[in-house]
């Protein structure tokens, strides 16, 4: 954060917190969309069936694993790209 005064850094930090909240909500929302769309299909009752509950639970676990894995790859690839750009 070079070139920012203390007041600017504070302001920026507040905005970043807001952004993180927003991003978490986007990721969470996409997860709900995906898992509900993939797992819930039986509208003969008002309550989730055992099959649906199980599917949702596996979907959440798998989505979290996917995000963790892709997060690691993203960090590596982003670091490599940044290093590449600074060499030029």
């Amino acid at each position: 954060m070079e070139g920012l005064t203390a007041a600017e850094s504070r302001e920026l930090e507040q905005r970043l917190q807001k952004r993180q909240v927003k991003e978490f909500m986007t990721v969470f929302g996409n997860l709900v969309d995906n898992c509900f769309a993939a797992c819930v299909d039986d509208f003969t009752s008002r309550a989730l069936s055992g099959r649906e509950t199980g599917c949702l639970s596996r979907c959440v676990t798998k989505s979290m694993a996917t995000q963790t894995r892709l997060g690691e790859r993203f960090a590596e690839l982003n670091a490599a790209m940044t290093a590449e750009m600074q060499k030029r």
């Binding site: 929302g29 969309d33 819930v40 309550a47 989730l48 959440v60 979290m64 963790t68």
Partner: protein
């Protein structure tokens, strides 16, 4: 904030407003998500009729209930497992 906040015990105006706003946004997003998903699951896309059929109406009611249950189930699981795995990092 809880670690370094001892100098200002009261939340500022901006913080209070942001908290209320945020809560309302969560509810609003949940609402529009439910409309999108349950329309997809229950409403016939040929639009040969302009009114909801009995079957579509019942499906929407059940879909809404299932969506709430699923939403809560997923939130709880994320809180449990996410805390352990550092979800979102």
């Amino acid at each position: 904030m809880s670690l370094f906040g001892f100098g200002r015990p009261q939340p500022t105006s901006a913080e209070k407003i942001a908290a209320v706003e945020n809560e309302l946004r969560v509810v609003a997003e949940m609402h529009s998500r439910m409309i999108k998903l349950c329309t997809l699951k229950c409403v016939d896309k040929t639009y040969r009729e302009g009114e909801l059929s009995k079957g579509e109406s019942v499906c929407l009611d059940r879909c809404a209930a299932k969506f709430f249950e699923a939403h809560q189930t997923i939130s709880e699981q994320l809180q449990r497992e996410g805390a352990a795995r550092g979800f979102g990092a």
